[in-house]
Symmetry: C2
Subunit: 227 residues, 2 copies
DNA sequence: AATTCATTTGAACAACGCTAAGATAGCGCT
DNA sequence: AGCGCTATCTTAGCGTTGTTCAAATGAATT
């Protein structure tokens, strides 16, 4: 039976950002990676609702049961897609935070980069967030000292935060993360069209929102008791 | 064929917050409302993944095709559920913002109420948000002068904002909304357990986050050009 | 009492996630 | 080289889902 439109049943990778070829080739040629690539292609072309396991297998040119030899679940395939996405986002954030300027300005660029990524790849971001919530995992990235999560805290220190106050540092990073996630998911809403237009487009809208939220202005954490 | 466990095939409403009985009874007795109630019961009992149209019909004691005479789609049923949820949340917010205290304190209570609602009804909040995003609608509530969205802006005015600067007012309200949504979706994450515990529980965690974000501190909107 | 018509049912279709059993093909071993 | 082993892939099938459609049901109107 033919699963591909062309007769070619090989790993034709045209995606821009994929993991480096690990070159394990059995019957198909590293179907594991081909499936993740197919999923991402499908995600960008047809949106998240079209992302069924069978459709991914179809896209990769294999039978509907083939993926089960590489992923336990549909969820596990999506988790692999999500991991690629988080890696991509992490690289983008690390680049954004290395731009010159004050810590204040760098935090803003960080937020713009985060939300921009999510807005440019909305379907991928949704898969990323879903996997993040459902798996209650992805700790490897947060735990890594080189992760953006830690770079943010470094920047907060440069902005004057106490480097020994880990609570305050994590709190600032998490607050920025929450706010960025909220903006990422809501900034494109039709309901805000008038406001977004009045501010001169989405980027200005985002920067104005971040100014409101003072996402970059770290201040010492309040003690748990006082409100 | 029997669709209910008991022989009773009638509208047994035990939910706490439902729309007032409109008492239109044909064969079943206002199946429209019974379906929404069944969906919400199912949502709380089994979670969002169990919320299939057939399961809702089963819960309501009717055949799988019955809902299609009251809702065009599964999406339309979920939209009805979502609308109930937004109404509930709006009432909660309006109550929270009427507590005494400074505008600052009231904005904080508003945020706590929003996030608290979402954390107490996570499945419902997910349906609400999904419907909000997919339908690109729900304008009736935002447009209503009595909605929480406008109460927030009133509070910003009390805090010193220019009542004629509609851009600044909407920006402040939207910023608070985005931040609240982000916290609502992320505050429960396992990844933040250590930080949450260090701050003495979820409520303190939330208040500390909001303090970081200065969700309540309105400041004049920046002109689109300056960053 | 007959008719009308919204309402509900039963059956069916395609697509989905997933499983089990068989076919295939590359690998290591003698 | 030949053999078997095992991972890989396919075929077929199960149960479930969303949705449609003709037939049946029954409350309300005439």
């Amino acid at each position: 039976m033919i699963y591909t439109a062309s007769g070619l049943r090989f790993n034709v990778t045209v995606m821009s950002e994929t993991s480096p070829p690990r070159a394990r080739a059995y019957h198909h040629g590293d179907l594991q990676r081909a499936l993740v690539d197919a999923a991402r292609a499908l995600l960008e072309r047809e949106g998240p609702s079209a992302l069924s396991l069978r459709a991914v297998a179809r896209e990769a040119g294999v039978s509907p049961a083939a993926p089960y030899h590489h992923f336990k679940d549909k969820a596990e395939l999506l988790a692999a897609v999500a991991r690629q996405g988080w890696d991509l986002l992490d690289h983008g954030l690390s680049a954004a935070i290395q731009t010159g300027g004050s810590p204040h300005a760098r935090m803003t660029e960080l937020g713009v980069a985060y939300v921009g990524f999510a807005r440019r790849n909305p379907a991928l971001y949704r898969v990323m967030y879903d996997s993040f919530r459902d798996k209650e995992a992805l700790p490897e990235r947060m735990g890594d000292e080189r992760s953006a999560f830690h770079r943010v805290q470094d920047t907060l220190v440069e902005a004057g935060a106490d480097p020994n106050d880990w609570i305050g540092l994590e709190l600032g990073a998490v607050a920025a993360w929450c706010a960025s996630h909220g903006m990422a998911e809501m900034a494109g809403f039709k309901q805000f069209d008038r406001l977004r237009d009045a501010l001169g487009g989405e980027e200005n809208f985002l920067r104005a929102l971040m100014d409101q939220l003072s996402i970059y202005a770290h201040r010492p954490a309040a003690a748990p008791e006082d409100k």
